[in-house]
């Protein structure tokens, strides 16, 4: 089952042209600069924006197309807006009950309790919205969307209106929501960090069109897309914990292509983690270095080399099935005589755990 989306929306100067298929499992980030049409796309999927001649099929259900336009209140969605938008005349409890009472199928006290627990808002239920902080309000808004037992969750930059502290506060809740619920999540964002941390798939939007669609980690490292060439280029690697060394506080993480040792708080063996490796933290050697302080040395093949400026180049490395970006000086590449197809070693100075 997948979500088929075809929209052509003209709003003055701006045109949105989307034709894509969104996977029905996991988190799909809709990513792009301001004004690229992210919110318009999400609103069109929710039925809040009326796209003429649009087509939208969710699994087997046709929501729009062939003369059909299912109004928003008949679509089984959960929608979280940029601002919390709680109903100011209702208590937190009544806000959450609003969708629950109207969802005819499948929503129950159990769904409600799960939403309350996932977002940690039990202690806020009797309060009025204006007595809550921005972060708390947004947690309530997410719980309210979940309580209606949606079959798809749409989030429009739910963290954008919050301060950095509140963002950090709410991210773990979002992560647990995504892990616990087996529904597709569309997450609009213009923050690389949030996407790296939360998304499985990505729709890269630019100027109203889709620039790329696919696995998040692949889009981050694709040399024909802009992200690999930005100054903060990075690789995101899925790994599982194979060992934890109590003495040195080091976790051994196995990924498709090798192993990483990363300093971390104790981790459960077998758990899945996500690693972030900045391109500028990856250097290249022709032979495997010995007697070095660097722990992570991975044998790789050079896939592609692109010169970014007079002095800098980006090298895309492949370790088995995993891509790794490296940002080095042109001088070094010249000295080492690096060519595409060469077998070399990647030295990773630091790798950060994202989850």
């Amino acid at each position: 089952m997948t979500i088929t989306v075809r929209f052509n929306i003209q709003r003055g100067e701006f045109a949105l042209n989307i034709d894509t298929v969104i996977p029905e499992n996991g988190v799909t980030a809709i990513f792009g600069p301001s004004g690229s049409g992210k919110t318009t796309l999400l609103r069109a999927i929710a039925g809040l924006e009326h796209a003429d001649n649009g087509y939208l099929k969710v699994g087997d259900a046709l929501w729009q197309g062939n003369g059909i336009f299912l109004p928003t209140h008949q679509r089984k969605i959960g929608y979280v807006f940029q601002e919390p938008s709680l109903f100011s005349h209702l208590t937190v409890q009544s806000n959450i009950n609003y969708g629950l009472e109207r969802a005819k199928d499948g929503s129950s006290a159990a769904v409600l309790q799960q939403a309350i627990d996932l977002l940690g808002i039990e202690h806020l239920l009797q309060r009025m919205p204006w007595q809550l902080s921005g972060g708390e309000q947004q947690r309530v808004a997410i719980a309210r969307a979940l309580a209606a037992n949606p079959s798809m969750l749409l989030l429009d930059e739910p963290l954008a209106a919050l301060g950095d502290d509140q963002k950090a506060d709410i991210l773990p809740y979002l992560e647990s929501v995504y892990q616990q619920l087996d529904i597709p999540v569309l997450y609009v964002s213009h923050s690389r960090n949030e996407v790296a941390r939360l998304a499985d798939h990505m729709l890269l939007l630019d100027n109203g069109g889709i620039k790329a669609a696919g696995k998040m980690s692949e889009i981050f490292t694709a040399m024909d897309l802009p992200m690999a060439h930005q100054s903060r280029a990075e690789s995101i690697i899925e790994a599982s914990v194979s060992h934890y060394d109590e003495e040195f506080g080091l976790a051994s993480l196995t990924f498709l292509g090798g192993q990483f040792s990363v300093a971390a708080e104790p981790l459960v063996v077998g758990s899945e983690v996500r690693l972030q490796v900045l391109a500028r933290d990856v250097s290249i050697t022709l032979e495997q270095q010995k007697n070095t302080s660097i722990l992570n040395i991975i044998p790789v093949t050079i896939d592609q080399i692109v010169r970014e400026s007079k002095s800098q180049m980006t090298v895309r490395l492949i370790a088995d099935e995993t891509a790794l970006l490296s940002r080095i000086t042109c001088k070094s590449a010249y000295n080492l005589n690096l060519k595409e197809g060469d077998k070399v070693y990647a030295q990773v100075k630091t790798a950060a755990l994202l989850t």
């Binding site: 929710a46 008949q74 938008s85 109903f87 969708g99 969802a103 309210r144 969307a145």
Partner: protein, 227 residues
């Protein structure tokens, strides 16, 4: 008894007229205000101007046209006559019709402002939570516009209380059926019965003041409660 029986009846007719008119105005004004707050129609301002007319029009002008149209040869009167109804001029029903036109802006404008202040977002949120358009209107728009409803009701009521010109033109000042307090006061003054005029005027003054105290007190409570 300080107020004569006729004065008491006039007060009673006044209160009845204000209550019935306010009720009718809320029923007509709510959908109208809702439409005005949502509509993108480019000639909407013409409707807004028509509703605001009684604010600047001399009540006698409004009363004059109403008298003409309510009379047996007027459009409204003719229609009623054709349907077999009694003539409306010089009746209580005629007064209600007149008051509804006269007090319309005092009900529609606060409601329109309140609905506009609710904004589109809460209604969109409700739609994503499975609420149908009618459901959204009654569970979100109306409760959130509550201060506007209170202001509209009290202003509509209070403004009808003070009605004089329109009533004089279409009511005919018939004691017991269309004589309202404001005209009774005028009659007392005409007859140099200053004592009775004082009591009636004082009653209206006190009542209107209390009414406005309630409006401002209630609206203050809303603003204090939602910083």
């Amino acid at each position: 008894m300080i107020l004569s029986e006729q004065d008491l009846t006039a007060l009673f007719v006044t209160l009845k007229l204000a209550s019935v008119s306010t009720l009718v105005l809320l029923v007509i004004g709510t959908p109208l205000a809702w439409w005005l707050s949502r509509s993108q129609w480019r000639f909407k301002y013409i409707i807004e101007a028509i509703i605001a007319l009684p604010l600047i029009l001399p009540p006698t002008v409004l009363g004059f046209y109403l008298l003409i149209s309510l009379g047996p040869n007027g459009p409204i009167g003719g229609l009623v006559d054709m349907l077999g109804g009694a003539p409306l001029a010089f009746t209580f029903t005629g007064l209600v019709i007149g008051s509804v036109f006269y007090s319309m802006p005092f009900v529609v404008q606060p409601l329109q402002n309140a609905f506009t202040a609710v904004g589109q977002r809460p209604l969109e949120v409700a739609a994503t939570l499975r609420a149908s358009p009618l459901d959204r209107f009654f569970t979100i728009a109306v409760p959130m516009a509550k201060p506007g409803f209170i202001t509209a009701s009290v202003l509509g009521f209070a403004h009808t209380l003070g009605e004089f010109g329109v009533v004089l033109m279409i009511g005919g000042n018939i004691p017991g059926s269309t004589q309202v307090a404001s005209i009774a006061i005028y009659d007392h003054v005409e007859a140099l019965e200053y004592g009775q005029a004082h009591w009636l005027a004082g009653s209206l003054l006190l009542f209107s003041f209390l009414l406005l105290i309630v409006v401002y007190g209630t609206n203050r409570r809303y603003t204090v409660a939602q910083p």
